[in-house]
Amino acid sequence: MNIQMMKRGFWALGAVFVLIGSIGWYDRLLNGHENANYGSLIPWGLWVAVYIFFIGLSAGSFLISTLVYVFGMKKFEPVGRLALFTALVTLGCALLSIWADLGFMFRFWHVYAYPNFQSPMAWMIWLYTTYFLLLAVETWYVLRRDMVVARDDSGWKAPVYRVLTFGTHKTSEESAQRDRKVVKVLAAIGIPVAIMFHGGVGTLFGVVAARPAWNSGLFPILFLLSALVSGGALLTLVSAIFQDGINRYGDTIVALGQLVVAMLMLDVLFQISEILITSYGSVPGHMAALKLMISGPYWWVFWVWQILIGTLIPLVILLAPTRRNPRWVAGAAGLIVVGFIGVRLNIVIPSLSVEEIKGLDDAIASVRVSTDYFPSLMEWLVTMFIVGVGMLLFGLGEKLLPREPEEAVTESPPPDQGVLSGVGASGGDDHVQA
């Protein structure tokens, strides 16, 4: 299958997801939450899991972009722009998902008008708003000069760039220097903001004393780690596919894979710690959610989805000699991304499906008061739409994002050679920008 066909397939899939998924949005907008399957015992479902999944991808991929724009690591230079773009797109998907989850979608502005700063949720929203603005401005500065250059091209892209450049014309080296400085400052500010806001998402769950499985000081840290793992993995995958990264900068993909596997091992360590301490204490309230996760009706989400697909197989690929082959690395990264949806579901749902007062489920004969939850068709469709929108935006990005200047990318060895030459052997130091 050639690359052109793959791209067409990607566009088609994105479009189909958006088309079919819009039925879900139609239902959601017309009937509110009536056709959702969550209730009052499990008040958060698929959309919240999808939200923390995407928001983790965004924070992780942004933090990796700072390796380029703050710490000047040449090795990751080729994926810097894509990292920022990925952070923007996934943030958009996350916000769409959590927006659909609100009881009153058009009251979201209340959080800006009447914030309660005792609430981690208010903090989170203010922080991701800051993060969004910062990210948008930084991305613009990163792309500005190339967009100015490209605005005079022929073809359909030129007018888009003309709008996006907001009337700047400078293409001089000084202007590029100034852009780099601005980007460095913005990215540096972005590091604490991204850590606070994603740590804040973990805090949002961590502070809930009523849910023992969430109420752990490890939660904010776990969220940050899993953001780096999943965001790094998505970046590895998209940089391998888009802009032909596998062939153009295979060694960067391999290096990203190493970064991801290091974070993944740290993440696993933290999770083991959490599970061990909980099981040793065996306090019933604390154990209940854990038991549900590992041996409840949805045990496979943990064992198959999270552990096998999301952790074990990628670990093997990224630690075995296959770690030096960009194709294998990209594949492992794909598995991690998919696996982390399972991780997110396991964070949200088992903790909620433990009754706060024993017997509530039996006391009220209503589907809304139930400890069982499986997302409804409408919920799946809404999520499908969001994934489709994300795919189309990536496709658009592939077309629109000015490519890294060719000089920035050295000839990378073909994949089969890469296995032999190893990570550093192909010479990341050669990535000198002209």
Partner: protein
Amino acid sequence: MTSRPPDFEVDPPGTGGDGQMSRRGLIATLMGGGAVALATAMAGGGAIDVLTAPAAYAESGAVTTKRRYGMVIDTRRCVGCKACVVACKQENKTPEGVNYNVVVEDTRESPDDRPLWLTKPCFQCEHPPCVKVCPVSATYKREQDGIVVIDYDRCIGCRYCITACPYGARYFDFGDDYAHAEDGEAWADVPSPEYGQYRQHEEGSSPVGNVRKCTFCLHLQDENGEYDKEAGRWPACAKTCTGKAIHFGDFNDPDSEVSQLLRERQAIRLKEELGTEPNVYYLL
């Protein structure tokens, strides 16, 4: 004791164990409030009748007239008839899946165990975790009587408060309805008197899309914030209770039935370890 869920950590009924910490704390608080009220009364020339002025000891040390409404529920009088659940539904017109009052039955391990039913309104906690987490301050504890309420027009329906409530007292209004309350049925045109707002239950407008909870039927209070049992202005569950198990009143009034019960009987509160300080006590 093995038949009790972990939430019931108490002396077995009738053993006459030492007073619960919470009860002592409560009495200390009441006495502290009383002492300050007395001091103020004497300083002001004794114009204030300490016994009838429901004085509370606020954190600032000032005397306020705040009431502290709460319940004392005698599980030994509860027969599990669930009349309270029905009365609450009638009074507040809560739709399917929204329950301000629930009767939970403790699962008995053997048929010989004494059955235990637990009727459970909102506990109107002194330190409500639901209020703290609300991103838009839509839910808050009323200064005048300690009842935790929801501003339906402010609430965005994020449901964070539902996750934060340790007692399952909050319910999201999905817009579902009982068959007899669906469009075209007469019942559908009767608005809920909640908060004195008389809202219709319709898709797209509050309270559909909001989180809802028990308000101790505060729409039955008069303009002074007082209930009247004789006139029938009394929380529906307490008013209807067939076994007279649900006692309602003001904990800031030492002569109220609930204050007396707390003094005379052994009371517990659920999940004391969370520090929420519920204003609903259970007698076992």
